[in-house]
């Protein structure tokens, strides 16, 4: 299935406590039984990957409609961070049922965002 997430803020940079707004669109003819949009931060680098779902919007009537607007409110923390052994990344993800046997769901689309009071990532590897 093809799906796309488009943010209202085209540079994908948002301040903490701000709002992430946009439109998610999909092909209703090939839509699965359910879709869910999530505001998520996750860690990358050394150590066990950590994923925190901060907000969820279950999408209904996905075989009738072909798009939907959404709005999430960000928390104060954490900021987007690119450090030496650790990164913290934010994104808006679209999930649906997985076609694989032992997997319940899979990511169908993602839109990375930068969450920072300066609108720039924090950390040593911020460039």
């Amino acid at each position: 299935m093809t799906a796309a997430i488009t943010l209202r803020n085209s540079d994908n940079r948002v301040k903490p406590n701000g709002r992430v707004e946009g439109v998610v669109s999909w092909d209703p003819a090939r839509a699965p039984a359910w879709l869910e949009l999530r505001l998520v931060w996750h860690t990358e680098g050394k150590g066990t990957r950590e994923v925190m779902v901060v907000g969820r919007v279950p999408l209904t009537d996905v075989r009738v409609a072909n798009q939907r607007t959404f709005s999430f409110t960000l928390p104060a923390m954490p900021y987007t961070y690119h450090g030496r052994i650790l990164s913290i990344m934010w994104s808006v993800d679209l999930f649906g049922p997985s076609r694989r046997l032992l997997q319940r769901e899979e990511q169908l689309a993602t839109q990375p965002i930068v969450v920072s009071p300066t609108l720039q990532p924090f950390g040593d590897r911020r460039e």
Binding site: G47, T48, R49
Partner: protein, 204 residues
């Protein structure tokens, strides 16, 4: 810890009569005879407990619980004993806590057993910690800022947290930690004590 992972100072710190906040000690480590004595003492206590439980013919489940409690108690008490014998008893107090990024605070170090200090290093540091969970957890730590506080022994030292500093963060497997680290060496023994400081998001 909520979804934000914002470390807002959930640890209760003691505010002294002079308005300063005495920081709670976080992690610590020792090398040389101190760590050998600590490990050896713990092993000796646990082996003794096994022998006593064996002689008393205790139920295996009850024996396991007693051994686990003994192990924790022995490790803590031996660590405290070696710290008392060889440690300098460092303490750190700050003029304000927690501190927002971009603002200034004062640090003062005290030692309850200064005779045990031959070499001393007080370091203001920020570090990343990533924990690899498994049968045995492995913690990776990488400092991104390390600044030696040369005058911390003589009196107050002023520290300004950079405006673009990443605030303290505490996730399940990842942390951003700011701390005052006190490293002492004396009689061939090195001991290190860490005093975490909560750095809040800067005021806009």
């Amino acid at each position: 810890m909520g979804p934000s992972g914002l470390d807002s100072g959930s640890i209760i710190h003691r505010v002294q009569d002079d308005g300063r906040t005495k920081l709670r000690r976080g992690s610590g480590k020792s090398t040389g005879p101190a760590s050998c004595a600590s490990f050896g003492g713990t092993v000796l206590i646990v082996v003794s407990a096994v022998a006593v439980l064996g002689a008393l013919n205790v139920n295996p489940l009850a024996g396991f619980v007693v051994l686990a409690v003994t192990l924790v108690f022995a490790a803590k008490s031996m660590s405290a004993l070696t710290e008392l014998l060889w440690g300098a008893g460092p303490g750190v107090s700050v003029s304000r806590h927690p501190v927002p990024a971009g603002e200034r605070f004062n640090v003062r170090c005290t030692f309850s057993r200064p005779r045990n200090v031959q070499e001393l290093k007080v370091v203001w540091q920020g570090r990343e910690e990533a924990i690899l969970r498994g049968y045995d957890d492995t913690t990776f730590a990488e400092p991104f800022l390390r600044q030696e506080l040369v005058d911390a022994i003589r009196g107050d030292v002023s520290i300004e947290i950079p405006r673009d500093a990443m605030p303290s963060f505490s996730g399940k497997h990842a942390r951003i930690i700011w701390s005052i680290s006190v490293e002492t060496t004396g009689g061939g023994i090195s001991m290190q004590a860490d005093f975490p400081i909560i750095v809040l998001p800067g005021r806009s």
